[in-house]
Each structure stands twice: as structure tokens, then as C-alpha cells.
């Protein structure tokens, strides 16, 4: 084997990166260079401070040209970080990108070891192993495939709206799918937004209207993703559209149906603080601008039972349609943006805070509705138990956040929105006494610190540093057990109402959706970005992007910025004529395939089919994971540039046998 390779006269160059002290403190880069130069195929080796820098890449380019290198190994950080960088470098010097390999001597070596001698030995072996691999790598070209120049956006909150509008404005069709009857999301429920105190509706509803009228946007409300197949550029999506029972085109919003409907249930939009009918519109500015029937609450269509809303004298335009059916809609799209948003952490889980037992211990979103001029109390903050205006209220920060028993992370927005609540409340109830129990004030964002200062100065709010232990109601008062850790005293405070700044949690549907789309979720059930700095809006699946609070707790400003970033990345794909697919895919040795089907059942991408009793790999679907290779009992499948021969010789190099 060795002799046949020397005949090919592979000339390999090796570049060992110091990564500042990241690698050099634990690995003797000079020794790696010395040792690797002893390899018969290595004709050039050098070390450098930061090989990824411009001068570092220049070294590679120069060496390829001057020494006519046939392959390059960069011993540096993880390939997930800079493999693309260095492959682009060798490409500039007219070397095939698959003749560049990375030896990971940082994450897999210097960062996890302390003994410099042993770490250096390991670095030498890792580098040697990469040299053996690159010698045997084929020069490959990417597979080119066409794409659907259309985007799917999942979630119609501010993130999904912004992303959909950006893509639609750039001239590409967008399918916007929303589970609820209207778009607008959480932002539509808000009274005012920090730090500018813009009225949320005033800045959101024009965008909702723009979505409704945009010629490039197809809006599907009451709709859910059933399944997603395919790959970047060629996703096939099935969407289930639940019946609305009211035809939006005919409905003229006359309200007669609502007046006659005998059923009242708690309003989701008002967070249960008001009632709505079984036929309803979530809020007056909802898009689509139409009523719908909550069929679970509706008494029934039979005239014997009810059916009043459908009578011609009630619904003149005959918009009510009890025969409306569930629809399955199929779409082919090139890119997908996931913007499924957040919910508040269920306060029932916080038994000691009593929100599920006592009426005047409410959630921050409920308080937001109480402050909203379009809310259940028309913007006059009345407490739920007796509709009196509370004079003394307390805001409880970190209700479920930064708490190992609940959500360990900081929910990012609660400090600032609680301050906003205090400010709006003080304007409405000037003689109010306001307490705020916090652990740390984390007002991180442009102008937020100024905003907190303004609230402190204008409201005379009593900020008490210390987490609250218990809240309950007694004799019409809300009692709080707290502590002032700065004054070293325990506090028992009586207030008229308490507002819990509950943790933000991702929409529970995200788990199911993520598995359908083969994207990852993190330890806290938020969507996992590919890399926090290099690929902050990309999922691990090419062509699927993330935006908004589904990815991490964030405020509207960051959400909108991330949505536009996702749209921009999506447009980067939609504007291509062809997209490239990795050529390092599985190949079948047809002479050895027994047609046993095992590879088909193991392939997570559905990339293998049986053609004339022989396994056939659809290259554009194959992601090169190698599952089929290790499954095949006949050893008939190999992965390009990860062949059994290559893996074997790499292992030998790692074991010190070469």
C-alpha cells in the first residue's frame, strides 16, 4: 500500500497553529513540525501564531504554489470552526478543497490535557493521522442541485413577521405558517415597549397589515407543520390547516354573531382576565381580519342546539360555514425560518408564589393586559379579585428564572419590563407605592440602563435586593416573605397585588417540530444555533434558520435583528441558481450489495433506495453521516474520503504503528 502511494508522489504541507497560547501553551508546535517532516510524503511543515489570520493563510497559499503541494494538513482548532476557512485558502491556490484536512490539536488535545510532553506526542499522532488521510483523499467537486426559490416561515410573531417581510420585500414568495388564529404573537398583547415606551400595537399592527396585503406572502393561520422532508433548497412540507368555520373574505366584522353567541370562555389574548365568545376575533386588529369559531367551545351546529350565528338574519354575508374542513397543504420551499416564540413558565410549578391559587397574584403578561388601553379593564389597572385599583404593588423578579429547580437561565427581559410596568403603573396611579424584589438588575441593552435610572428617579420605586421566598393572600392582602440582603433584614410586606416576572420558556411544540425538521434543541429546550458566534442564526441542518425567543430569551430589539439576520441568510440561498451539496457521500459497491435493506432502515435522511435489488444512494439527500457504512453486513458501502481504508490507516497512525 505504502509503495503504491509513494509512486503517486503526494507532496503534503503541514501547518501547525499556536492559536496564541491556546495550543502553544500545551503543545510544542516546533516539535510537531520536526516530527511530521520525517514523514515521507511531507515536503513542507511550519508553525505559526494564528494560521487562520491573513498572513497565516498566506503561508499556506505560498507553500502550495512554491512547493507544488498536492495536499495540506492544518493542525489547529476543530474543523467545525475553520475547516471552511482553510479549504477556501487552498482553493485560492488552485488545490481541490478536499485535499485539505484539519488535525484538531486544540479541542481534542491542548484544551483537555495539561502534560505538555504527552499532549505534544498526541498532537504529532493526530497530525500524522490527518496526513495519512489527506494522502488518500480524492479530489472531489460538490454536487450541484436546483432549488425552490420560496421560503417557509414558521411562527407569526414579530420574529416571523419581520423575516417574512424581509424575504417577501426582496422579491421571493413566502409561506407564513401560524398556529393561532391571528399573527402578532406575544408582542400584540403588550401595552408599551421598553425603553422608548412605543405603544406595541402602533408599531406592530402596520407590519401585520403589511403581511396581510403583501403579494409575495401566503399566510396560513390555524396551521401546523405536519412533516418536513428533503434538504436545503428542496424541502417538501406538509401543513395542516384547521378549519376556521368563518370565511374571512365574506366576514365584514359586524359583530352580530358575537352578540348572539351564548357561550363565554376565558380569552387567551387577555390571559384569562376577560371572557370571549365561542365565535370571536382574538383582538380587533387581528390578521386575518375575521371571526372564527372555537369548535371545542361551540355548542354545535344543529339548529336544535344552537347554530344561531349561522342564521341569515345574524350573518348577512353568510360567512359562517359549519362545513369548513381541515385542509392538508403541501409546499416546496428552499429555506425554512423557525420563529416559534415563547410562553411564560407555568406559575402552577411555583407553588410558593401562589399564582394558581390567589387571584391578585398575577403573571407579567396578565399585568401587561391590565395596562393596555385595549385590555380587559381598558387600561385602568384593577386587581382581579374585587376590581379595585391597587395602591401598593410588588414586582417579583426571577420567578422561575435563574433557578435550578425551574429554569436555570436568566430570562433576559424581566428586569427591564418590570421597570416598565412600574413606570406605566405610576403614571396611571400616581399615589401608588411600588416595590420590586430583585436578585440583580440585568438591564442589558442599548439605553436600558438609562431607562432603569429614569424609572428609579420618576417612580420612587423601592428596589429590594433579595429573592422572595413565599407569597400568599390573607384577608384581602397579598403577603410577601422577602429579605433585604443589603440591609440585612427579613421582610414581611403586605401589598394589594403582586406581579410575577415569570421565566420565558420556548413554545412546547418546539420539541416535536425540531425532531420533524432534524434540528437540535439545547439543554433548556431552546433551539440550538450551529455556533454562537460564527453561525448564530443557522441550525445544524443546512437551509433551516432560527429567529426570536425560540432560540433564547430575548427582547423585541434583538428578536427583530435576529429575524432580519435569518432572512438575510435565507436570501443568500434563495438568490443562488444552483446550490452545492457535499460530495463526501456514501457509495455502494454494487457487486457486493446483497440488497438486504438494512442501510435503508438506518438512513436518517431517507437517501437510500433499492433499485433492481441493489442499494442506490441519492447523493443530494445523503449527508455523509456514515450510519449505512457501519451497518452494511457485506461491507459494500463506503463513504467518499472516509473509506474503510482511510479510517484503518488513520487508526494505525493514532496507535503509533506508522
Amino acid at each position: 500500500m505504502e509503495s503504491s502511494l509513494t509512486k503517486k508522489k503526494e507532496k503534503i504541507g503541514v501547518f501547525v497553529c499556536h492559536c496564541g497560547r491556546n495550543i502553544a501553551a500545551t503543545v510544542d508546535a516546533k516539535r510537531v513540525v520536526e516530527e511530521i517532516l520525517k514523514h515521507t510524503a511531507v515536503v513542507h511543515a511550519e508553525d505559526y501564531d494564528y494560521v487562520c489570520s491573513d498572513p497565516g493563510q498566506e503561508l499556506i497559499e505560498t507553500a502550495i504554489k512554491e512547493k507544488r503541494l498536492t495536499g495540506v494538513v492544518v493542525a489547529a482548532c476543530s474543523p467545525s470552526l475553520h475547516e471552511t476557512t482553510f479549504r477556501e485558502t487552498v482553493k485560492r491556490a488552485n488545490l481541490n478543497i478536499y485535499k485539505c484536512e484539519i488535525a484538531n490539536i486544540r479541542e481534542q488535545d491542548s484544551w483537555v490535557h495539561e502534560d505538555k510532553e504527552k499532549a505534544t506526542e498526541k498532537a504529532i499522532k493526530l497530525t500524522k493521522s490527518a496526513v495519512e488521510k489527506v494522502i488518500r483523499n480524492e479530489a472531489l467537486s460538490p454536487v450541484k442541485v436546483g432549488l425552490y426559490k420560496k421560503a417557509l416561515v414558521i411562527g407569526g410573531g414579530i420574529a416571523g413577521i419581520r423575516a417574512a417581510l424581509d424575504i417577501a420585500d426582496a422579491g421571493f414568495p413566502v409561506v407564513l405558517v401560524e398556529k393561532k388564529p391571528t399573527i402578532g404573537g406575544r408582542m400584540a398583547q403588550l401595552a408599551e415597549t421598553f425603553p422608548t415606551l412605543d405603544c406595541a400595537s402602533c408599531i406592530l399592527t402596520p407590519l401585520m397589515s403589511a403581511v396581510a396585503h403583501h403579494p409575495n406572502i401566503k399566510l396560513l393561520t390555524l396551521s401546523e407543520i405536519m412533516d418536513v422532508e428533503g434538504y436545503v433548497g428542496n424541502f417538501h412540507v406538509r401543513i395542516k390547516k384547521h378549519p376556521r368555520y368563518v370565511e374571512p373574505d365574506k366576514c365584514n366584522l359586524c359583530n352580530e354573531c358575537v352578540d348572539i353567541c351564548p357561550v363565554a370562555v376565558p380569552s387567551e389574548f387577555d390571559e384569562g382576565l376577560s371572557l370571549r365568545k365561542a365565535i370571536y376575533i382574538p383582538f380587533p386588529q387581528a390578521v386575518p381580519s375575521s371571526y372564527l369559531i372555537d369548535i371545542d367551545a361551540c355548542l354545535g351546529t344543529s339548529p336544535l342546539i344552537c347554530g344561531k350565528c349561522a342564521e341569515p338574519e345574524v350573518c348577512g354575508p353568510e360567512a359562517v360555514n359549519f362545513d369548513d374542513q381541515e385542509e392538508i397543504i403541501e409546499e416546496d420551499v428552499g429555506v425554512i425560518i423557525v420563529a416559534t416564540g415563547y410562553e411564560l413558565y407555568n406559575p402552577t410549578n411555583l407553588g410558593e408564589y401562589g399564582a394558581d391559587v390567589y387571584p391578585d397574584i398575577i403573571t407579567s403578561l396578565q399585568f401587561e393586559r391590565l395596562l393596555s388601553p385595549s385590555g380587559p379593564t381598558e387600561g385602568i389597572p384593577k386587581r382581579p379579585s374585587d376590581e379595585k385599583i391597587p395602591k401598593k404593588i410588588a414586582f417579583i423578579h426571577c420567578a422561575g428564572s435563574r433557578d435550578e429547580r425551574h429554569q436555570p437561565y436568566c430570562s433576559h427581559i424581566c428586569c427591564t419590563y418590570s421597570a416598565k410596568h412600574a413606570l406605566i403603573f405610576k403614571e396611571l396611579v400616581p399615589d401608588a407605592e411600588i416595590h420590586s424584589f430583585y436578585i440583580d438588575i440585568r438591564a442589558v441593552g442599548k439605553n436600558y440602563e438609562d431607562f432603569i435610572r429614569r424609572v428609579q428617579e420618576e417612580t420612587g420605586i423601592h428596589y429590594t435586593r433579595g429573592k422572595v421566598s413565599r407569597i400568599y393572600e390573607q384577608n384581602g392582602k397579598v403577603k410577601i416573605f422577602g429579605v433585604d440582603t443589603l440591609l440585612d433584614k427579613r421582610i414581611e410586606l403586605e401589598v394589594d397585588m403582586a406581579v410575577l416576572a415569570l421565566a420565558m420558556v420556548p413554545s412546547p411544540a418546539i420539541q416535536d417540530l425540531a425532531s420533524k425538521m432534524r434540528i437540535q434543541i439545547d439543554g433548556n429546550n431552546f433551539l440550538q444555533e450551529l455556533h454562537p458566534k460564527l453561525h448564530p442564526v443557522e441550525s445544524a441542518t443546512s437551509g433551516i434558520f432560527l429567529a426570536g425567543a425560540a432560540q433564547s430569551p430575548k427582547d423585541i430589539q434583538d428578536t427583530v435583528a435576529q429575524a432580519s439576520a435569518s432572512a438575510s441568510k435565507a436570501l443568500g440561498i434563495l438568490t443562488q441558481e444552483k446550490i452545492s451539496h457535499i460530495p463526501t457521500v456514501a457509495t455502494v459497491d454494487e457487486d457486493h450489495c446483497s440488497g438486504c435493506n438494512l442501510c435503508i432502515s438506518i438512513c436518517p435522511y431517507g437517501a437510500i433506495k433499492l433499485v433492481d435489488e441493489i442499494a442506490h444512494v441519492e447523493e443530494v439527500l445523503c449527508e455523509g453521516c456514515g450510519a449505512c457504512v457501519s451497518t452494511c453486513p457485506s461491507g459494500a458501502i463506503d463513504l467518499r474520503n472516509h473509506t474503510d481504508e482511510q479510517v484503518g490507516v488513520m487508526l494505525k497512525a493514532l496507535a503509533g504503528e506508522i
Partner: protein, 122 residues
């Protein structure tokens, strides 16, 4: 690691450095009126390797009701830390009013030694 912190960690199984001084233990504690310092301050003294904690009555007032442990957002068993402080005081500083010379202190179960101490010393 400092000796005090090491002993507390060994006895209680808790990492005192995970406390972020939110004060929840103090907020829920029913006996703070009788304490020299609040429970979260006691933890801060341990974090700061301050042996004056062993001269303070807070661990002794603690009734082991476990409200602090149940509600600690960092999942610390605060009551176990209080117990550790009591045990350190008894075993290593000889502070005790019960005559335990007749028994082998090293072999006496933790719960017995502290229960006896609590009963007879305060």
C-alpha cells in the same frame, strides 16, 4: 481549598460556592429574629473562609425545617450546611455542654451528636 470550606463540603456534600446570595433562604426562614446573622450571610462567611461563623448562633437557631433547602434556586441543601457547621463546631472545636467523654465521638452518628448538642446546649 480552605479547611473550613473543605470540611463543610465533606460533611454536607454541598458546593457552597454555587450560592449567589439571592437571600431566598433568609426570606423564608421563620427564626431570623433570633439569629446573629441571616442564613445567606452565614453562607457568605463560609464562602469567604471566615471562621467567625463558628462563633455565631445562626446554625444553632436553625430548626432544620428545610424551607431554605426546598426553595434554594441553586439547589443547595442549606439546612445540611447549617448541620455541617454545627458538627464542625462540636467535633473539632470541642464546644459542647453535654458530657460525651464517655462515648467515642468519632464513632457517634452525626444526627445523634448534633441532636444531643442542640437539646442540651441552647
Amino acid at each position: 481549598m480552605n479547611e473550613l470550606v473543605e470540611r463543610v463540603t465533606e460533611i454536607s456534600g454541598q458546593n457552597v460556592y454555587s450560592c449567589y446570595q439571592c437571600g431566598n433562604c433568609s426570606a423564608g426562614c421563620m427564626f431570623t429574629d433570633e439569629m446573629d446573622i441571616l442564613p445567606h450571610q452565614a453562607i457568605a462567611l463560609v464562602q469567604n473562609e471566615d471562621e467567625s461563623i463558628l462563633e455565631i448562633n445562626t446554625p444553632w437557631i436553625c430548626a432544620s425545617c428545610f424551607v431554605c433547602s426546598v426553595r434554594c434556586p441553586r439547589g443547595l441543601d442549606v439546612a445540611a450546611i447549617m448541620e455541617a457547621l454545627r458538627e464542625i463546631k462540636i467535633r473539632e472545636r470541642g464546644f459542647i455542654k453535654v458530657d460525651l467523654r464517655k462515648v467515642d465521638i468519632e464513632k457517634l452518628p452525626q444526627i445523634a451528636i448534633t441532636a444531643a448538642a442542640q437539646k442540651f446546649t441552647w
